[in-house]
Amino acid sequence: MAQSVADDLSLPHISNNDLKPFFVLHKASPRQHPAKKSAGKARRSVKVNLSASLDNNHEPEVLDDQSHENLRTKNFHKAWMTIESTIKECMHNMNADVFNEIDSWVHKSFDSICSNGRPDTNKATCSYPIVTDVTAKQLYTGLVVMNNMEFVDDLQTFADLGVHLNSHGCHVANLSSVDFSPKSGVGGCLRSLSRQILKGSIDAADISILASWYMEKDNFKHPVVVIIEDMDRCSEPVLSDFILMLSEWVIKIPVILIMGVATMLDASKNILSSKTVQHLSLFKFFLGSPADRLDAIIEAVLVKPCSGFLLGHKVAGFIRNCFLKQDGTLTSLIRAVKMAIVQHYLMEPISFTMKGLLDEHTSLADSWPNQALELPSCVRRLSETKSEACLGGPSKMKEVLDLWSCVVLCLHEVGKNHKTTLLDLYYEALDPKLCSMRDSDYLESKPDHQRSSWNHNMNGESVKIHKGDLIGHTIRQIRDLSPVALFKLLEKWNKITDGVNEIHEKVKELQSQEKLENSNLKETAIRSRRQGIRNVGNFDKCTTALNEKAAVVMSHMARDYMQPIESIPFHEIVCFTDVDKLQAGLLGDPRKRIQLDLLGAHTFIKCSCCSTKSGSSPISTMHDTTLMYSLAQEYGDVINLHDWYQSFRGIVGQQTVKDRNRSKVSPSPKKRKTAIEPQKKITEASIQARFCRAVTELQITGLLRMPSKRRPDYVQRVAFGL
């Protein structure tokens, strides 16, 4: 009986739900249920509340404000959708060629399988297909080389490929390495295959069911395509078994295999046994390189303001660093952008108020909302020029942005030859310092060799692009272009700048000059060929003159039209700049933060007792666990429990001593005594209990390891340093 009392005591404040593995907290409130329409309304109303809480510095909302907020939410939603669809479209365009290639190969292979003998019902009723010809057991296999270490980026590609082939009349099943685990065996992948092909009606691992399904209706008119997303990660024996089985049945079910390969082309030979490889007749396809994809997405989403949402310089820098140094996946980059747009909406009350940047046809009479005049960028500009006229509306901003992105893309065209990535260029072009640097010789189009020699002298090392000098460097590269490359470049510039009158004219001018000189050159070239190499110098001179002109035009463009978003007034409305917020949401750092929580608890708890006195040294009023953790800092990798307990006890006990002194000194000891009485009862047992709980809590955070049998008197510290 005593036991039961103790047991009940040991679990107070714990409801029944807390000890169930899971429970339903509540079901959706009924107001969402009746009809679809109200569901939409309920959704919106939450968002309105939300923006109201954000806007708390403004007057309580009037009806006008509410419609304003609705508009804002709508615009955000539209921007979000635009970004999503832009990314999708981008990937689709990148993959379109390969997909078509694969598609035509699939149909060709299917025809050739069928030419060996079209499956018929008689054969299907045999328990096992009778194959006389060895070559008929060949399984057509397409290896899709991903050119990418990171498999995550290609998940969507294979899903898209499945959809693409499906729409072109194939029966498609997408399998992944999870299906090929040794645990579930060949039955697992077969089950998954038949689930997808038979649309989930049967849940059995039997290939004969699949074979008889294939004979039904019109099914046999189309090939069955099995896509294995990541061959490298599949379990080898399971994959081998699967392939052998399919090849035995290939007459009945003409399966065409498509496998994604992340590693080397001969991966199939490395992973699979030679016996299995015999049955594969391999074809290779190559997906676009990740670098190209990255450039395409950055161009479509970030450089061209497709969604009316932009990133600031620091945010771009953070995303770039994440990509280059930490994660390296396109998926993470896209996630970062999406996180940024959500945070922007949440943080900036007047974001997405204007349709201006989103709409193709902006009205001229547009203007920013009144609240926007209080934005720092606007206030700064107003104080400088003392007129509102220069500020312009959203359409003006769009113009400036278009010019900016146009120049960045032109620069990228130049940089492409030297493998300058758009990400780097984009990052640098966003630098608000560019504006102030314009007056200096930053973008000066001096010949490159002068600069590089200067660099050489300064650093004592070979040519190295200085941080923040990528644009200048790229412009200088124009000089070194061959006439053919220059010609191509001008063509591309022409295409990019189409529609942007200011720049387009200059490019046109350059092109006409180029044509003129080209015709001259051709003559001289023919002549020089006749006369040997005498005129080569002359030839060089002509082209360098043109290169020079192009470089000058480019540097003028960069100087005049490349206005970074953060130096434009009202940029706060469309541009997200809070890099800390993004970082906190994207990369939590529990290891560091939890330790900091424990060591600096008073900054969170904000009590009067612990924070003011004695800085970081442990005192008795501190939260027990934080007190214990700061005591633990004094130990090495193992902590002697006895010592730890004693020092904890010492500090916890301090208070009682002090209080006793105080109560002695105080004029009305009786009053004091009654007030302090309950606190003073710090018994040995309660200290031990507090010690135990603090240790348990540290164990939950993973900062401590419990004593082992070999060392029963020590706990082990797990984390050192932040």
Binding site: K20, F22, E150, F151
Partner: protein, 450 residues
């Protein structure tokens, strides 16, 4: 991309940032990465050694697939490896956590622990109180800073709307920071997520059946859909979810039931890094559930190394975490119940309550097997335990197990939760016994029977 080019662009910047000890976490199970990484390292720093840690056994909970640890001190790492393998009975296996811990401790303890010699005082020198009394005291600990903590937790209420917004746009919320976040998250779910059905998983418990969770979710979703569009659903969906496969249930959660891609269910997981969910299978399953179109997820972590549970696919594509640092400094009341008290005698012994909770989460057959063992122990209090073959025979007679394999799987479960221990009988035979007193055992048997 050309291989050397790749090395240059991806690894060299990485390596350049290294100082001394390097740990590259959660590189996926990609064979080329192994070769690339090691070659990149050997080009750049010839004396570096890349040690590849193999997958660990199912019990050592941590982390996915292969991992790589690189340390400049060849001799040191060899020593550490040898130490570990010797401990593991000569098997060439070492977990990454072990190695990381050893390396980390070696370097950092060397710096921080210089002061003073290692103390050799014994725990027994403290005048320890009786375990029952200690437990009673633990439950009566007077909370400190109650007001401040309450206002700290209250201060997060202003963020609720932001959190809902993030959930709506496809992110999962991951709460971390010191202190129990249970009440905070439940408060958030019950005040701000009224449009959703909310299912709570208590990850801090010892074992959780995720299939049951998925089935419960599917049933709730089914009810909700039925109310919204009573005629639109097909009859075949009415097959009870219990009898369906996991794939089917997940397929249902992911299915295109309504035209709008709207979230209807919210899965709240306290301690997604808890002991019952720490294995990679559970995490993969959770990730699949989280990526379903009708499900959004709110979870909390407490362990500092929790992010190592997930690979890139899970983080970026499935969970899509949005991190929130919300330290509460609230006591880990429920979360700590299952941890033994460090000052309790025989610190690992279980109380009846915790044992019965574990037993209730097991299958009826497993419970019955335990009961057979318990009854034997009660009937023969003087014996050292029950031999395995005796247990097997009596269990088979009652149709509880069909083979030794099934029995062993039950026993492994018991041993994992320290419900059963093994000791050597005097005649050399291994015996099973339950580490509880007679009274406690009687009470436990009563509780299972309820």
């Amino acid at each position: 991309m050309d291989r050397t080019e790749f090395e240059k662009s991806h690894f060299f910047p990485l390596i350049d940032n290294l100082f001394g000890l390097v740990l590259l976490c959660s590189i996926d199970r990609n064979p080329i990465l192994t070769s690339l990484l090691s070659s990149a390292l050997t080009i750049r720093f010839p004396p570096l050694l890349a040690a590849v840690c193999r997958r660990q056994s199912h019990r050592s909970v941590t982390f996915d697939s292969h991992s790589y640890i690189v340390a400049p001190q060849l001799r040191l790492i060899r020593k550490l490896l040898l130490n570990c393998t010797r401990k593991n009975g000569g098997k060439q296996r070492i977990t990454r956590a072990q190695l990381l811990c050893r390396l980390g401790n070696y370097f950092l303890a060397k710096e921080s622990g210089k002061s003073g010699k290692k103390s050799a005082r014994k725990l027994s020198e403290i005048d320890l109180v009786d375990e029952q009394e200690l437990r009673a005291e633990v439950s009566n600990i007077e909370p400190k800073h109650e007001k401040e903590i309450a206002s700290l937790i209250n201060s997060y209420k202003s963020q609720y709307n932001d959190w809902v917004f993030e959930l709506r746009y496809g992110f999962g919320l991951l709460m971390y920071g010191f202190g129990s976040k249970k009440s905070l998250i439940e408060d958030f779910a019950s005040t701000a997520l009224t449009d959703y059905s909310v299912i709570v998983v208590n990850g801090y418990l010892q074992s959780i059946n995720l299939k049951q969770v998925a089935i419960a979710m599917a049933e709730v979703l089914w009810d909700q859909l039925k109310m919204q569009q009573p005629k639109g659903l097909h009859h075949k969906d009415q097959q009870p979810f219990d009898s369906r496969s996991m794939d089917d249930v997940i397929g249902f959660l992911d299915g295109p039931h309504i035209s709008e891609d709207e979230c209807l269910l919210c899965l709240v997981i306290h301690n997604i890094d808890g002991p019952g969910l720490r294995d990679s299978d559970s995490q993969h399953l959770l990730a699949r559930i989280a990526s379903c179109s009708h499900v959004c997820i709110v979870a909390s972590i407490d362990h500092v190394n929790a992010p190592l549970l997930w690979d890139k696919k899970m983080v970026h594509v499935e969970f899509k975490w949005c991190w929130h640092h919300v330290p509460t400094f609230a006591a880990y009341k429920v979360e700590g119940v299952f941890h033994p008290l460090i000052l309790a005698h025989g610190g690992t012994s279980q109380t009846v309550k915790t044992a019965s909770i574990v037993l209730h989460s097991l299958t009826p057959n497993a419970q019955s097997v335990f009961k057979v063992l318990a009854q034997h122990q009660l009937a023969h209090p003087d014996q050292e335990g029950m031999p395995i073959d005796t247990l097997f025979t009596s269990c088979r007679e009652r149709f509880l197990v069909s083979s030794l394999v099934t029995l062993n799987s039950h026993l492994t479960e018991f041993k994992d939760h320290e419900l059963v221990k093994i000791r050597r009988h005097s005649d050399g035979q291994d015996c099973l016994y339950i580490p509880l007193s007679k009274d406690a055992l009687e009470k436990l048997v009563l509780e299972i029977n309820q």
